[in-house]
Amino acid sequence: MKKTSEKSSIFTKLNDTSLLLIITIVIFFAMYIGAIIFQGGGFTKPQMLFNILNANAALIITSVGLSIVMITGGIDISVGGVVALVSMCCAVYLDKMGGSIIGSIFIALGIGLLYGLVQGFLVAYLDIQPFIVSLAGMFFARGMTTIVNTAPFNVENAEFVALKDTRIIVPGMGSYTRKGIYVPAYVEIGVIVALVIVLLLFVVLRWTKLGRSFYAVGGNKQSALMLGINVKRTKFLSHLICSVLAGIAGYVYFLHVGSGSASHAMGMEMNAIASSIIGGTMLTGGVGNLIGTLFGVLSLCTIQTIVASAGLDDAWWTGITIAAMLCIFLIIQSVVMVQKQKALKG
């Protein structure tokens, strides 16, 4: 009897955001440890986790942006398109126009900024549905990518290739190959960028006025207005941050793949939405945590890796597991929330 009351007190003490965050983290660890036990092999090596990070740094960044928009109660499905457009533009600039690295970074940021300004303005000040605005944005980005260059190609620019192959060694995490060679563990530059962004925006969301106003606007627009929060400006800023992050993600993605292609980042926006939800962000707004989003991405990508390692690799299997996982997460989330409501009332 006493135990249950204790449990419910922990339950009720935590706010929704923290509760969902803990669920996400616990599930991720359960899954990873499960993979180590049942699949062994690669999962026991840290590099497996680093490879997941390397391949998905861009997804982490877009998911963070999406989480912020979703916390304010909006949505942005143009991010995948922006990533493709940025990588194509940078690829053409570096490879066919002989551009510099700095220039290409400005291109990436510029495209993101432009997208943010236009979409943010349309959503916040003209009050158009964010879904429709970003749907148009997605089509535009995909179309433009093909106009910039139709055929996929690899960038040969020596400076860029050197940057792409730069590896940041993680000390003490390497492993021996069967030849007995010690291979150090490494992450790519993009991973550092992604982690810095997660931490930075986590702090902004937690401890700044702007961050809190995102939650207020998403939680209840009327109350936010009464609290004296500039709802339009907040919405505008959320879209601006999301699109700029999509621009940065585009560059990180480009840095990982080293090529331009119209089919890059196909469906990335959907994976980003899924990651945010798995990470405990609610589509209804007002609830979410960026650390949760990070773990959301990791969970999503770990399950994909598990599926692939199990030899069940065909496009549909990945899709089916993501669907199943989303479903499980949503059920757990809603069950926990219902329990909490009950505990609060009782």
Binding site: G40, G42, P46, N154, K179, I181, I291
Partner: protein, 353 residues
Amino acid sequence: MKTVANLAMVLLLSVALIAGCGSSSAQKDSGDSGSSLESKEAGKLITVGFSQLGAESDWRSANTISMQSAFVPEEGYNLIYKNGQQKQVNQITAIRTFIQQEVDYIVLAPVTESGWDSVLGEARDAGIPVILVDRRVDVADKTLYSCWVGSDFELEGRKMAAWIDSYTKRIGLDASELHIVNIQGTIGSTAQIGRTRGLANAARENGWDLMAEVSGDFTETKGREVMAGLLKRFDNINIVYCENDNEAIGAIDAIEAAGKKVGSNIRKGEIMVVSFDGVNKEALDYAKEGKISCIAECNPLHGPRVRALVDMLVEGETPDKFNYVDERLFSSIPDVTEVKVDGVSYPVQGIDE
């Protein structure tokens, strides 16, 4: 306070993650990891990671199935198949996963030629030999891969040209009477380059009238479209050289829709269609009916050949760097029984079954 407590919890868990990884890897390094039954069983099997570029055509599917049926557990192999969905980044991720899984061999059917240096270097550092299938890679250091298995596309084209040459001579047509159009594959693909070169060289040597070369993108729809256009431009076409079966099916459709007859009897005004691949069932039926006069096979069944190479590597032998698969010519016309290219003769087979 609460937020600080939460943050602390997160940090603690992150530390736990890193510690968890570290300790388990230490365990792995210190001793035998094969504690579970599954990994003991897997220890006897030769594990092969296969990164296929996609599943875009009948040919590709046949290629995948051939690999999957060559490497089965009953024969002592464990194949991990990974579909790259036409994207190099997916293939690179797959290879990195194979390396972490410590597969014994990696088989790669690359989607593009460039951009493989660093990941193949990682495979070499890990001591995993790489066998390439179908397309090649363009790397500075050729020792990054053990060997390559695939088709000689130019030879396919030359064999087909030799068949056209022998057949038309047999029915008594002069070289100048041949009016050929080439419906090419996707421009820039290895198959297109080789097959186009095979025909173009033969046309120059024999003095054939090669009127047009237009890409049909390896698809039936484009084949139909391109052929319809060519029939409007030229009224004396008597040979259509299609660089794959799907294009040929489309082209035949267009010829028949224009009220002309498809067949090998050029003297009676029929238009002769020849094509490549021989995987598509419909095309083989057409060949049996005589609508396609000759098909140069592009053999997708690489599995057994790759398995033989893996076995050689297991034995410590060094296989040849480039390995071509055997490919045949199919025709329902009995007049030509063999063709010669560079002094080597290739038999022409009837279409059975």
